[in-house]
């Protein structure tokens, strides 16, 4: 299905080839109209497509925790560190280690309280007050290995499967594989935090896939989609009149170039743009939600940070409901090298309400069954720390061999802990899988086979996992 031919089906000559082979002549306006209708079908790269496999989940919300959240301080506590706290040791610098992780080191215990939650009795940070209430819907995964301990490369790896960037993001692959339900909205939407993450927009790029699949970042302020509205002071009736005049010009131009089918597609794209302009504000208007729902997400609460995150979680639900295929919600600030008590504490409090509300709300609406929720950072954190600012700081460095991650929703084995890390949390030791296997599993849960979801680029059939991976069956229901 994803052969070279389908890869180039958006190129004009192939379409023309198709049309002319169907035996139509040339020259009439009526033909132009037929061409346009035919093209409308061929030109909808985002039309819903049949998945490769039967799957429960149709949509995905990816909660990206940027900066490297600590598994040790969230949902994988390590009591052993209490006895090792501030014990010093030295790590030799080798050719394959970054300067950051070497030299004098000391172990650091978690400053947080933990409590048991859910039927499985997982110990999670007590600051997750509300999240603790929904863990029975969640599958915690402790076996994941990333590769890079450098933020941008690790983020690219998590988001695109390729550490060095430039490849399509998961959301772009999913849009390419499944299309999307609402043709007036993008298939892949990103809800960034106050700043863009390291590596910038390449984290949601369509890479070598056609531009239709690119992630559209929705801004919290200003126009949610770039230039969706004209400059201030341009009245709607003026815009409409200009559009009509443009359409008149384009129609007579198309009539003079009946052989050039692409023109109709461009006319259509203007109309689609204005349908999106009309529809998007409705989707984004969270004031339409009942008060109880808004409160559940903490949107009007006193914690502004939690309110902002809750707002993004609620928007994610509304976008999924409106037919968007893949939404990524980014929460930044998990890079706690110092003062992890404060830094992670604030981050957890800010995320707790939104995450819990999202799981619960989707559940109540029966949407959790058809939505996959994934929560992960680009790597985990180390049980030890280096010398910071001339002394010891209660924080943690980056760690690619153990991380904090969970999944919930359609097809996921709920209420489970899968895999384990060693006694200090340095390394995952059970049910260990590289990130590419996680990607394969994520696609699988959405009905996509990584080995079939390919695109020919630069002489190679490329895929999200890069070279193929293995399904993590333990995560599946």
């Amino acid at each position: 299905m994803f052969t070279r031919k389908s890869a180039i089906q958006f190129a004009a000559p192939t379409r023309r080839e198709l049309l002319f082979h169907s035996g139509m002549g040339l020259g009439s306006i009526a033909l132009t109209a037929m061409l346009a209708a035919d093209r409308a079908r061929a030109e909808r790269p985002l039309a819903p497509k049949k998945p490769h496999l039967q799957a429960k989940a149709k949509n995905c919300i990816f909660l990206l925790m940027e900066g490297g959240p600590s598994h040790i301080d969230t949902y994988d506590p390590k009591p052993k560190l209490n006895s090792l706290h501030m014990t010093k040791f030295a790590k030799e610098r080798t050719k394959f280690q970054a300067a950051m992780n070497t030299g004098d080191r000391y172990y650091v215990k978690s400053p947080f309280e933990f409590r048991r939650a859910g039927k499985m009795g997982i110990e999670i940070n007590s600051l997750f007050e509300r999240f603790a209430g929904v863990v029975d819907d969640v599958c915690f995964y402790r076996g994941l290995h990333a590769e890079s301990v450098n933020h941008p490369t690790a983020l690219y790896h998590l988001n695109t499967g390729n550490q060095f960037g430039g490849d399509p993001a998961i959301g772009a692959w999913v849009g390419y594989g499944l299309g999307t339900e609402n043709q007036n909205l993008p298939a892949f939407v990103v809800l960034p935090d106050v700043a863009y993450p390291q590596g910038g927009a390449a984290n949601w790029s369509s890479g070598y896939l056609p531009a239709h699949y690119q992630g559209t970042p929705l801004r919290a302020q200003g126009s949610p989609v770039l230039d969706m509205a004209p400059p201030e002071g341009v009245a709607p009736e003026r815009q409409r009149a200009n559009l009509e005049f443009l359409n008149t010009l384009n129609r007579s131009h198309a009539a003079a170039h009946p052989q050039h089918a692409e023109l109709a597609a461009r006319i259509q794209s203007y109309e689609l743009a204005f349908r999106m302009q009309a529809e998007m504000p409705n989707v984004l208007d969270i004031d339409k939600e009942p008060l109880a729902i808004r409160e559940m997400y903490g949107i009007s609460g006193p914690d502004k940070d939690a309110a902002a995150y809750g707002r993004r979680c609620l928007l994610a639900r509304r976008l999924i409901e409106a037919g968007v295929r893949f939404v990524q919600v980014i929460a930044m600030g998990w890079d706690s090298h110092d003062h992890i008590d404060k830094a992670h504490g604030v981050r957890i409090r800010a995320a707790d309400r939104g995450i819990a509300a999202l799981v619960k709300d989707l559940g109540q609406r029966g949407l959790l069954e058809e939505t996959l929720i994934v929560c992960a950072g680009e790597f985990g954190r180390s049980p030890d720390n280096g010398i910071r600012r001339g002394g010891q700081a209660w924080g943690r460095d980056h760690n690619a061999t153990a991380m904090a991650c969970w999944m919930a929703g359609g097809g996921v084995k709920a209420g489970q802990i899968v895999g384990a890390t060693d006694e200090t949390g340095l390394q995952a030791v059970e049910e260990v899988h590289p990130l590419k296997d996680f990607h394969v599993t994520l696609l699988h849960l959405l009905g996509l086979d990584d080995n079939k979801l390919r695109f020919l680029h630069a002489g190679r059939e490329k895929q999200l996992s890069q070279t193929g991976g293995e399904l993590i069956r333990a995560l599946l229901a």
Binding site: F10, A12, P13, T14, G67, F96, A98, A99, M100, F164, G165, G166, D193, A195, Q198, G199, G200, A201, A202, Y208, A211, H212, R219, G222, L226, D227, P230, P231, G233, R238, N242, L243, F245, L246, T248, L249, S252, H253, H257, H260, E262, A265, R266, S269, Y270, A273, M332, G333, W334, S336, A343, R347, G390, H398, A458, G459, R460, T467, G468, R473
Partner: protein, 858 residues
């Protein structure tokens, strides 16, 4: 576990087969495809040769591979089944069917069906090797012009070629093609009225002589080499002198630098032409890919990243090969063994980053440097003042702690330590200090753009001028020894295989007979040999690849449609003989790109109408045979440049450090993360003549593209772009119909044109038809009424620019007010500054600038 299930089903079937046939049908093909690349052909990793039964019985470093009759006790079976310590293949997994087959086969005594020594080279089919064979020599009776070659194929298919395009269409086509800008009305009219027989030739020569030509064709080259002004990744630091490479490329095209010289300069200018400053600037090509090394990077990994990037970058650019595929394993489709990949990589093993001083050339635009430097220093000075204040505070805190009142009274070393450790500065304040420090770091790097230095390389470290950032330590040149290069199975830098010496790709000698030169093992001279080998007129790929690129940009499709892939998976050439004929002419002309353009533009094929004849529409709808001209949308840069040109706002300035165009305001104001903090806000260049320059002169930031360029399929600078896509997405309509830039340019156009006719002439290069004039007149009247009733408010002052960051220290939000536009910002025309009549004309103009006629070339 997962393997048990298929095994249950498969084994009984397999047991029923003749084991020798099982080996021949199910095992040997997999061994050939997946194993022999590392174990037997070209290399023998772990001393294991898997080509014969005897060799498998002998085994490798771990002992015998097979124990006939005992699969479970055989290393081969354990490795593929994952039941032992060794797992094979290194990437991916053996299929369950294969694992089962091997089990049955070994248990049955491992009979060998036939001598298995295979020659991988003989597996390639001649038809897949066309690009590696020498250029076809001319035969008596061959066609001797582009048109004759094309006509032969059209005649075979009985396709009638389209008649010539009308003169207006033709001039627009050629002007956009050669200069990336639309012709002016006067130019079009002059050409249309020139009935002399040499009119077309004169027009082509005029366009080729225009300095705008190098800006247009230089951009094509920058697509292929992945040019950007920054490194990418965490800090996305500026490559402060990369602009000199960009201008070098433009000059090279404008001066028609012979292509063999052009490529030799870029690959080995420093070695081949040591006194030539242009040749040193040219080596910036080797570093064009994204690359960064920070305190969190692993040196062996970032070094390998560069080596991989430059190896496949050179192969893609000059040879049209997907050599990157051979990084982990032998190329699956082309005769490119992994060993060749690493031998070529070894050529770059001694290539180090350098940023030596190199005085500016008279041909470089240095006019803005002094002012630019002063401006940036002033901003950086303000930032430094903030840092100084924090330093003073740290010292004051230390003084309080030590009970002294003067810094001089502090014990030795305490002052420096207080500043280093930020004595007494809490996390909240530290977040602010970090921002200033980050800005300072970025400015310090960027200030070098005004200095006479080259973004270049050297063979071995160039003492005193090494580059790559503070985290890399280089030895002295005298103490430097070339690093060993090993094959890296699976591309993994942590598990080196066989050591290799530098060398060129063996397929050229094998298939084209060009002897592979010796590449010296010395520090210097490796790249020189590579460059001379590529530039050799007998090299089968070099001229073909370049000629094909040029053809592709003219016609929208190469003679071979995949310009970066001349291997088996690339499209076969539609006119192989024409490609070879052009390549031979190109070499014979002294590798002159301009002569090649001329030959193409003077052909009938180039001048044809875009309307296909009936036979063409029937027989060749994809227009592979070029019976007519294939229309296409203009590229992103052409669109922006045309917009500015139509508005009369395009700046003629050329060269020098990148300028900052007016981009979407939301993107401009968006905070950008830089390792540990935020970047300074994006500020458009204050003067119009800077920010309204051609797009090729705009600053190319890897982590933040101009969204207007991006949405119209501008290429990612992270990989080589062989051909632009032209997808149609609705966000393009937003960018061109709603953006401030489009509205500003429409207004500027309207203000310069006093009549509707003049608006058409400026926007489309022609007066309106009577019908259009009447439609536009109606629209204008309607909008005039609207504008009279709705006068615009005055220009609003810019809102303060507040950036927020989630602090990694406190987990809380921090806000910083960023530097806004400077006072001397030269604003675009504002609606409140013109009459309602002009505003209504601007509405007409906006529609014309969005029209399909504006966006397409016929």
């Amino acid at each position: 576990m997962s393997r048990l299930l298929p095994a249950l089903f498969c084994v009984p079937i397999l047991l029923a087969q003749d084991p020798a046939a099982l080996f021949r049908d199910r095992i040997q093909p997999v061994l050939k495809k997946d194993c022999l690349g590392c174990h037997g052909e070209g290399q023998v990793l772990s001393k294991l040769d898997m080509r014969t039964r005897a060799a498998l019985l002998k085994g490798g470093a771990r002992g015998p591979s097979i124990a006939p009759g005992n699969a479970a006790g055989s290393i081969l079976y354990q490795a593929i089944a994952g039941s032992g310590p060794l797992k094979m293949p290194p990437i991916g997994k053996a299929s369950p069917e294969f694992v089962d087959a091997v089990k049955v086969w070994i248990d049955a005594g491992a009979p060998w069906a036939e001598p298995a020594v295979t020659d991988r080279w003989s597996a390639f089919k001649e038809e897949d090797l066309w690009a590696f064979r020498p250029l076809r020599a001319a035969q008596p009776g061959d066609p001797n012009s582009i048109d004759a070659f094309l006509e032969r194929k059209l005649a075979e298919k009985k396709i009638a070629a389209a008649p010539p395009a009308d003169r207006r269409t033709l001039l627009r086509r050629a002007t956009l093609d050669l200069t990336g800008l639309p012709p002016t009305y006067a130019e079009t009219k002059a050409f249309a009225d020139d009935e002399s027989p040499g009119a077309w030739e004169t027009a082509v020569d005029r366009l080729l002589a225009s300095p705008r030509y190098g800006e247009r064709w230089g951009r094509h080259w920058l697509d292929v080499v992945r040019y950007a002004d920054t490194n990418g990744y965490s800090n996305d630091f500026e490559r402060p002198n990369a602009w000199r490479y960009r201008d070098y490329v433009i000059r090279a095209f404008n001066n028609d630098k012979p292509y063999d010289r052009f490529l030799r300069e870029q690959i080995a200018g420093d070695e081949l032409f040591p006194g030539d400053p242009e040749a040193l600037i040219a080596t910036g090509f080797l570093r064009a890919g994204p690359w960064e090394h920070t305190g969190m990077s692993v040196e062996a990994v970032t070094r390998q990243m560069f080596l991989d990037d430059v190896t496949h970058g050179v192969a893609a650019t000059f040879l049209g090969l997907t050599l990157g595929c051979a990084r982990c394993h032998d190329h699956k489709f082309d005769p490119l063994p992994t060993k060749d990949y690493y031998r070529m990589q070894a050529i770059f093993a001694t290539t180090e980053f350098a940023r030596p001083r190199l005085p500016f050339l008279p041909t470089e635009n240095t006019s803005g440097l002094a002012a630019g430097r002063a401006g940036m220093k002033a901003i950086a000075g303000k930032v430094q003042a903030h840092i100084d204040a924090f330093n003073d505070l740290s010292v004051a805190n230390a003084m309080r702690k030590h009970g002294v009142t003067k810094p001089a009274d502090l014990p030795a070393g305490v002052r420096a330590k207080a500043i280093r450790d930020r004595e007494g500065i809490g996390p909240d304040q530290f977040e602010e200090l970090k921002l200033y420090q980050k800005h300072m770091q970025l400015y310090q790097e960027s200030l070098d753009r005004y200095e006479p230095k080259a973004f270049a390389v050297s063979s071995g470290p160039r003492d005193g001028a090494t580059d790559g950032g503070p985290n890399l330590k280089y030895p002295k040149h005298a103490e430097y020894t070339p690093p060993e290069v090993h094959v890296l199975p699976g591309g993994n830098v942590q598990s080196p295989g066989e050591e290799v010496s530098p060398g060129v790709l063996s397929l050229v000698e094998r298939y084209a007979g060009l002897p592979s030169p010796e590449v010296p093992a010395s520090v210097e001279g490796r790249r020189a040999v590579l460059a001379d080998w590529i530039a050799d007129p007998r090299h089968p790929l070099t001229a073909r690849v370049m000629v094909n690129r040029v053809w592709q940009y003219h016609f929208g499709r190469g003679i071979a449609a995949d310009a970066n892939n001349f291997g088996k998976m690339g499209a076969r050439p539609s006119h192989p003989e024409l490609l070879d004929w052009l390549a031979a002419r190109f070499i014979a002309s002294g590798w002159s790109v301009k002569k090649l353009h001329r030959m193409i533009l003077l052909s009938d094929a180039y001048r044809r109408s875009s309307v296909p004849t009936e036979s063409a529409a029937r027989e060749d709808p994809a227009n592979l045979l070029l019976s007519h001209f294939t229309p296409h949308r203009v590229e992103a840069e052409v669109l922006r440049d045309s917009l500015l040109a139509a508005a009369g706002e395009l700046s003629p300035d050329a060269g020098g450090p990148g300028v900052y165009p007016q981009i979407n305001e939301d993107v401009a104001r968006q905070p950008q993360h830089r390792m540990g903090s935020l970047a300074p806000a994006y500020l458009a260049s204050p003067q119009k003549r800077d920010r309204n320059r051609r797009t090729i002169y705009t600053f190319q930031q890897r982590t933040m593209a101009d969204p207007l360029i991006e949405v119209f399929n501008g290429p990612s600078p992270d990989f080589s772009c062989e051909r632009r896509e032209a997808t149609i997405v609705p966000t393009q309509a937003f960018a061109l119909f709603n953006s401030q830039l489009a509205h500003d340019m429409a207004l500027a156009l309207a203000a310069k044109a006093s009549t509707l006719e003049a608006v058409f002439v400026r926007a489309l290069g022609r007066p309106p038809t009577p019908e259009e004039a009447s439609l536009a007149g109606e629209h204008w009247k309607k909008m005039l009424a609207h504008h009279r009733a709705n006068p615009p408010g005055p220009r609003k002052p810019a809102a303060p620019l507040v950036h927020k960051i989630t602090s990694e220290l406190t987990g809380e939000l921090h806000s910083f007010t960023q530097q806004g536009d400077p006072d001397d910002f030269e604003h675009n025309l504002h609606p409140s500054e013109v009459t309602p009549e002009t505003r209504a004309l601007a509405d007409v103009a906006l529609a014309l600038l969005n029209s399909n006629e504006f966006a397409y070339v016929y």
